[in-house]
């Protein structure tokens, strides 16, 4: 939590001044009853109009100074809290950028988004409220009591009894209701969940004729919610009446003690008026204080969650220096896996076990296997999205761990399963691959990715806007653009991770043809469920449950690998493929 406070450094001045001015305002407030007591005790008693006028002038002055103080305080506290949350948000975003895939998987995107948005907003308003009230409210409560002592000691003793009593009621109700409000929230979530379920599952509900069952289920959950809401409502409804009774008991006591004191001449009637006024101020501030505590504890919980993300250390270190010479026997290597195993953080079983193969420069490598067989895991080790937990992964003769981050990611380009584009234009998305690419480079990449035609057909061509997440493009268009984006970076190793799944067979084939025709010696990994897409690969890796079940060319595997044969047969019955 200390680290979180560092982001307040730029706002030290504001953090001191805001509460200070709030306190000044409060102290001016506290003088008001005394001035009024003087008006009654001195001015009215002595029939002194001048005195009364002067005192009322003071009241006006106190009001103006109070306003000035509190506006100043509000400004400083707004500035500090907004500035703080801005700095924190920046730090959080920057920190998320440094996290590796493993941490991203553990934290989850939706969690991170909530941390960046609603949690940080809560922190901001909590801090704002805290700066404004944490000095003011206790100051008024105790200040009023001290002022009471200056008026009359015996009457002030009533304050000493009343304040703890009021606190017990205010904080007691709060302590009792807080966990109950959490239950209300849980039950509301249940109602929400059932609603969502019935909407997304409307077809199934109706297909099984479950409409009435669902309504009953919902009404039960809803009744539970209402019951809890009423329960909490009745308890918190106690607070106002109870405090009201206590305050009036205190006032009654003040009146009685006051009358006795006046009778013996220790007090004047104006003093009684002042004391009653102080008593009323205390109640207002106690309620505010209780509210403050609820808000601040909520904000602290949110801050704790933000802190947890900030405390997550990036699990991967990259060296600064480019690795040196490549040993002669590895000159021709593009990718080499040596007894590689991978177990994801928190997973019970390994996703990859004992994988060994070597891909030479310029080769095309196919990766095939069923759902969950480890295809994506295997290729994600090459750009070092994850570190192998066993064995070693080398590219171009050096372990991937020996490459600086930019160097590595510049050599290897991955087109992921999920086609992810960003708001901007087609051009701005393609330039992600290489900021300095010329238009000719972009068009060449689009041609290879079989995307040139549809980009041409857009009214603005390369400058056609892309909405956030690429919503305005079809699945197939997005996939082809992500392939083009990867090609723009002219990688040495290109990985297509099931990234042609939304393309029809003809386009898929044309894409593979175009990739093969590219000049240079790019090594290409193609992950696919379609045996047809991989048939021309120089080597095909067949994965089964994380194990390498076969390695070889199409013809070799058909002859030797039962798993491959089964996959192939499931897609082409014998003799069915085009003769």
């Amino acid at each position: 939590m200390n680290k979180m406070l560092n982001y307040l450094n730029g706002y030290k001045r504001e953090c001191v001044l805001a509460p200070l001015f709030k306190m000044l305002e409060a102290s001016f407030d506290l003088f008001v009853p005394l001035v009024m007591a003087d008006i009654v005790n001195v001015g009215i008693a002595a029939h002194d109009f001048h005195y009364i006028l002067m005192r009322c002038g003071i009241l006006l002055l106190l009001a103006i100074i109070g306003l000035a103080c509190s506006l100043t305080a509000q400004y400083f506290s707004a500035k500090a809290s907004v500035g703080y949350s801005t700095a924190l948000r920046h730090a959080l975003f920057a920190h998320i950028q440094t996290l590796s895939f493993t941490e991203m998987d553990t934290l989850g995107t939706s969690t991170l988004i909530t941390r960046m948005t609603s949690d940080l907003n809560q922190v901001q308003s909590g801090l704002n409220l805290f700066l404004r009230l944490f000095l003011r409210s206790p100051f008024v409560v105790f200040g009023a009591m001290i002022m009471a002592f200056t008026v009359n000691v015996r009457a002030a003793l009533i304050f000493v009894v009343a304040i703890p009593l009021l606190s017990v009621v205010v904080f007691g109700v709060m302590v009792v209701t807080r966990p109950l409000y959490k239950t209300v929230q849980t039950r509301l979530d249940r109602v929400l969940g059932l609603t969502r379920e019935n909407l997304t599952g409307a077809r199934v509900v109706r297909a099984f004729d479950k409409e009435q069952t669902e309504v009953n289920r919902f009404e039960d959950a809803n009744a539970l919610l209402t019951k809890m809401q009423l329960h909490v409502g009745h308890i918190s409804a106690l607070m106002n009446p109870l405090t009201y009774v206590i305050i009036n008991l205190a006032i009654v006591a003040l009146l009685y003690v006051g009358s006795v004191q006046i009778h013996v001449g220790d007090m004047a009637s104006g003093d009684v008026i002042a004391l009653v006024n102080y008593m009323n101020q205390i109640l207002v501030e106690l309620v505010k204080l209780a509210n403050l505590i609820v808000q601040v504890s909520k904000a602290l919980a949110c801050a704790g969650r933000v802190q947890a993300v900030l405390a997550t250390k990036p699990g991967m270190q990259f060296p600064q220096e480019v690795p040196g010479e490549v040993p002669a026997e590895k000159q021709n290597d593009a990718v080499r896996f040596d007894h590689v195993g991978l177990t994801y953080a928190g997973a019970g079983a390994p996703s990859l076990t004992d994988i060994s193969f070597t891909a030479e420069k310029g080769q095309t490598i196919g990766v095939i296997g069923g759902t969950g067989s480890g295809k994506s895991s295997l290729v994600s080790l090459i750009p070092r999205f994850y570190d192998a937990t066993e064995g070693s992964v080398e590219i171009f003769g050096h372990p991937v761990q020996n490459y600086p981050r930019e160097e590595l990611r510049g050599k290897v380009s991955v087109v992921m399963q999920k086609a992810q584009l960003f708001g901007g234009t087609i051009r701005s998305n393609l330039l992600w691959g290489n900021q300095n690419a010329s238009d000719a480079d972009l068009w060449a990449a689009l041609e290879t990715a079989q995307a040139a035609e549809f980009v041409h057909s857009k009214p603005l061509g390369l400058d056609e806007p892309v909405e956030q997440g690429g919503r305005n493009l079809s699945g197939g268009q997005k996939q082809r653009l992500t392939i083009a984006r990867a090609l723009v970076s002219k990688p040495d190793i290109l990985i297509l991770d099931d990234s042609a799944s939304a393309l029809d067979y003809a386009t898929d084939a044309a894409l593979r043809k175009a990739l093969a025709a590219l000049p240079g010696s790019m090594t290409v990994f193609i992950v696919s469920q379609r045996a047809a897409s991989l048939q021309h690969a120089d080597q095909i890796l067949v994965l089964d449950d994380g194990h390498l079940a076969g390695l070889g060319t199409h013809a070799e595997l058909l002859a030797s690998c039962p798993v491959y044969e089964e996959i192939y047969a499931s897609q082409f019955k014998k003799g069915d493929a085009r003769q």
Partner: protein, 591 residues
């Protein structure tokens, strides 16, 4: 999004909504009457106490001239009134809670019943998030507004009127001082409200922009890292972040001026009352006790004004939310069942006669579709995306009604039988794998809640789901989360298949039922399906041509029409659209 929606209602709409809200409250009118009565009691008692205090002060004029017994009498009176006021306050809250939470419960129940009778066209065309927010967030906001309105509006108005009345009864000129300052407080409040509303609007726009950016960047984080784009994203983020800082500062500052400003007005009222009151007291027009009454009133005078102005915005907001809920409740229901609708006795003979259908009135989709399916036949439907495959399923299940022509099962028009019996005759597995939040067992037994464990396990085995279920932490009692996050898409599909395997209805609909399952497992499930489909009329939609080759009839659809019809060999021999489609998957394959 909707909870804060400031959708402005026209005055007529507002009145209409208000009338309906009152109608919803009607069952609780006893509580309403009680609430109004106790509110009046509590306000009167609360205003009476300062008068009693003032009177007490008048009995303690100075040294030696205190009437102790009179003070004691008043003190007792104050106690009684305070306890009465407190009790009234508590009753008020209890009544208001009861009204509010009951009304919102009723609204939610009504909305859920509505959802079950809405036509699927409504559910398909309205984002579910929107309906959820109407049922949950809007009802909540409405309840909050209603509660505040009940608690504060009536007592606020009563307090203001009562205060003025009590003050007038004591002294007219001092009352005039208070009344004269009142407009000041209203002007200040409305100025600040307008300003801060403007900046809050600005803040929520920029916040929305930032959230969208954060969403995009964090969801695409892996791509950002793969392309080393971290610095650029941070730059874009900081730009929005900076703008947010500016507008937030203004919004927060202006809104936080409200409290000091009203306190200031209150202080002015207090000083004014002090001045005029003191002058009157010197002149002997009022007693010290009366002055103290005025001072107490002056101290609390602006409070109900602030509350009322807050309540009015809350109430407007609440009405807007109520209107959105009513809008949902008012949507047209699906066509009711025919009066003499009978239960369907399916024999598996399905005939589509000259069927036409369109989702949008100006966009014909299916036109003049004819099809005669013999009992036990297996029908496969293929064609490019958007050709109407899923629409056909919607029509068979009567999720949508045909616009022209008819569909008959066993010779009876499906509009003449009950929906329940029609849908019960089909077993349906969809691409969209819907499971409810609950255990695996509950999900498999969804269509047959009284199924035995043996039946459930047999169904799971048939769907090749048994082995993965056993490997789950709690086996068949594993709870599937609401979003189904703890099992994979393919596993969900297996559970959906098991769910149908358990019921074994006479006809089957499989809409891309195995799309998330790898081809090897699929081959095994196909075998189970094949056993299941024996003797059952079945409709299969698939994009993997390998899964449909064995169908008795393949319907090739394109743009809402059946362009080709026949079995695999016949269609290949025709060399038409199906042949092109089929051959394209072997592009580049040589054997």
């Amino acid at each position: 999004m909707s909870a804060k929606a400031k959708s402005k209602l026209t005055p007529e709409q507002r009145n209409a909504t208000l009338r309906r809200v009152l109608h919803k409250i009607k069952p609780y009118s006893l509580f309403v009457v009680c609430s109004l009565v106790v509110a009046a009691v509590s306000v009167a008692a609360q205003l009476y106490i300062p008068i009693l205090c003032g009177n007490a002060i008048d009995f303690m004029l100075g040294k030696g001239s205190v009437n102790l017994s009179a003070v004691l009498n008043i003190v007792v009176e104050i106690l009684v009134v305070a306890v009465a006021a407190a009790f009234a306050q508590w009753l008020l809250s209890v009544c208001n809670n009861r009204i509010t939470f009951s009304v919102s419960r009723d609204l939610r129940n009504e909305a859920m019943r509505k959802i079950q009778t809405l036509p699927l066209s409504y559910l398909d065309s309205h984002p579910s998030g929107d309906i959820v927010s109407r049922m949950v967030a809007d009802v909540d906001t409405f309840a909050d507004g209603l509660l505040m309105g009940f608690t504060q509006l009536f007592s606020g108005v009563l307090t203001i009127l009562g205060t003025l009345l009590f003050m007038l009864s004591q002294n007219v000129p001092i009352t005039l001082v208070v009344v004269c300052v009142t407009p000041l407080s209203l002007v200040v409040a409305s100025f600040l409200a307008k300003r801060s509303y403007k900046y809050f609007q600005g803040q929520s726009t920029v916040r929305g922009e930032q959230t969208a950016l954060v969403n995009e960047m964090i969801e695409g984080q892996k791509v950002v890292q793969a392309f080393g784009h971290e610095a650029e994203s941070l730059e874009a983020f900081d730009e929005v972040n900076g703008r947010l800082q500016d507008v937030s500062l203004k919004a927060i500052f202006f809104s936080s001026m409200t409290n000091p400003a009203t306190r200031f007005v209150n202080n002015i009222v207090y000083a004014g009352v002090g001045l005029v009151g003191a002058i009157y007291a010197v002149a002997g027009g009022i007693t010290i006790g009366q002055l103290s009454i005025f001072l107490s009133y002056a101290n609390q005078y602006t409070k109900p004004f602030n509350e009322i102005s807050g309540v009015v915005t809350e109430l407007q907001n609440a009405l807007a939310c109520a209107a959105r809920v009513f809008e949902l409740l008012d949507a047209d229901d699906q066509i009711p069942e025919a009066e003499n609708a009978a239960a369907l006795q399916p024999d598996g003979h399905v005939v589509l006669h000259d069927v036409s259908f369109r989702y949008l009135p100006d966009r014909p989709l299916i036109e003049g579709l004819n099809l005669d399916v013999k009992p036990g036949q297996r029908i496969a439907i293929v064609g490019p995306t958007g050709c109407g495959k899923t629409t056909l399923i919607n029509l068979l299940m009567r999720f949508y009604d045909v616009n022209g022509g008819s569909i008959t099962v066993s010779g009876t028009d499906i509009r003449d039988v009950t929906r329940a019996s029609l849908r019960g005759s089909y077993g349906m597995v969809l691409q969209d794998t819907w499971l409810r939040a609950g255990t695996v067992r509950e999900n498999i037994a969804y269509g047959k809640p009284d199924a035995t464990d043996e039946e459930i396990i047999a169904a799971a085995k048939a769907a090749h789901a048994d082995s993965f279920i056993r490997r789950l932490p709690e086996g068949y009692n594993t709870v599937i989360a609401e979003d189904g996050g703890n099992i994979s898409q393919g596993q969900k599909q297996l559970l959906c298949i098991a769910r149908v395997m358990l019921c074994l209805p006479p006809m089957l609909i499989l809409d891309e039922a195995t799309s998330s399952i790898d081809t090897r497992t699929e081959v095994r499930i196909q075998a189970a399906f094949a056993r299941m489909m024996r003797g059952r009329t079945s409709f299969i939609v698939a994009h993997r041509l390998s899964t449909i080759r064995e169908a008795d009839v393949i319907l090739v659809m394109k743009d809402g029409h059946i362009v080709e019809q026949g079995n695999h060999d016949e269609l290949l021999a025709q060399g038409g659209f199906y042949a092109t489609l089929y051959n394209s998957q072997f592009e580049g394959v040589e054997t």
